[in-house]
């Protein structure tokens, strides 16, 4: 069992096989994303009733919360890929970990921007040093650091290795940062404003959130495979398999 799993692993590690695998999967993932987003957005904008306190402005939650979850989930996925890359030296894992960073940074940015847009009517200010927003801001810097480190090497593989070590350091550190920032806000604000908690949500508001969250997962998978495929092609443009592929396309 373990052996067969390992074999499958290594097979996926080979660029041409990964390319074909990604090629078949990507259209499906994008279609599922489209369906999920269509249903989710329709429900979020037209089906669920306005909140009696926040009116319509709370609807931004349906973008904000899935983005926040995906921002964190991306880091976890990136860390698993980084371990695979460092321990088994599988190149496709290395590339996927590296192309995941900008996607994660993107979701973090969406989370921060929608948080600010939401904060303006709610708190009367675009930015508040709220625990979650602050943690997200630090997460954004960590993502940017990983991207910066990867980009600072002329040798992509060397850069990927260094950045993978940084990803793993971040995995240990992020919970501590989260904890310390929580501590810090309770210290300085007295009481935290707890806006983002689906637990306090009315059950009728839940379905669009689930639709949107699932759609965002598919979107992430599609973007990850697509970016990894492109990066692989760009790095291997002089290799045999790419030339054969291009030859096939021309014919």
């Amino acid at each position: 069992m373990w052996k067969r799993l390992k074999l499958a692993f290594h097979k996926l590690g080979s660029p041409p096989i990964f390319y074909r695998f990604a090629q078949t999967l990507i259209p499906w993932l994008w279609s599922l994303t489209g369906v999920g987003l269509a249903v989710g957005l329709y429900q979020a904008l037209y089906v669920v009733p306005p909140d009696y306190q926040q009116g319509d402005s709370y609807r931004i939650l349906y973008v904000h919360v899935p983005a926040a979850w995906q921002a964190m989930a991306t880091y976890l996925i990136m860390a698993i890929l980084a371990i695979i890359a460092l321990v088994w030296r599988i190149r496709t894992a290395e590339i996927m970990a590296m192309v995941a960073a900008p996607i994660g940074a993107g979701f973090t940015l969406i989370c921060l921007v929608t948080g600010a847009i939401w904060g303006e009517p709610m708190w009367g200010t675009w930015w508040a040093w709220d625990a979650r927003l602050t943690s997200m801001l630090i997460l954004l810097f960590i993502y940017l650091g990983i991207m910066g480190l990867y980009a600072a090497f002329d040798d992509h593989r060397q850069g990927a290795k260094m950045a993978s070590v940084l990803v793993l350091v971040g995995v240990v550190n992020i919970p501590i940062i989260h904890f310390s920032v929580d501590w810090w806000t309770t210290l300085h604000q007295g009481s935290t404003i707890n806006l983002f908690g689906p637990s306090s949500m009315d059950p009728t508001m839940l379905p669009p959130l689930i639709w949107m969250t699932v759609a965002v997962k598919f979107m992430f998978a599609a973007m990850l495979l697509q970016r990894a495929r492109n990066e692989l092609l760009a790095q291997d443009q002089r290799k045999q398999w790419t030339k054969r592929l291009i030859g096939d396309l021309i014919e």
């Binding site: 080979s14 190149r91 040798d155 045999q240």
Partner: protein, 203 residues
Amino acid sequence: MDSVIHAQQISFHRHGERVFVPTNVALMPGQLCLIRGQNGSGKTTLLRLLAGIVHPSEGTIARHGSVAFIGHRPGVKKDLTALDVLKFYAEFAGADPLYGAMSPQAALHAAGLARQARQRAGQLSAGQRQRLGLARLLVAPKTIWLLDEPYTSLDADGCAWVDGLLDQHLALNGSVAVAAHVYQPKLNAPTDVLDVQPGAQHA
């Protein structure tokens, strides 16, 4: 006698490709192995594998004996005096009891740097720095010498000095592996030649 370094089918992968074709190395006591190959054929990588600085991606290496490695950057701190550099290595690397260690002053003298003892290494010429790096072999002698282009920047005198060092070490049953692509050591001891071939692409 058994070999001091025994490497079986070793190679190193960089960017998923072999740097050189898998190679066997069996270095015997009293033997000099000349590693040859074009630029970029992986001579340096092979020496670093033998020294243990990088680990082989395939194959196995067994070492029996203490190792000295002098890379193409000789490991000389430019802000220290020549004497302090050697004092540091004497303490840092220590001497193998099989061989007599020279004092740093005596080693500087042997390297022709007696007058430069109090000069900062940064003020020495490239050839003098190379001599200083090689003088480590005298203050911290080891069984196995792994030298990467030791003749770089040396004048004729310097090259003769290195040849003398090698001959002496081999006579004491030491072992040496040298990567050199221009200068051929002129030694009394027999020389084995190992040709390193650049690795072919694979997958």
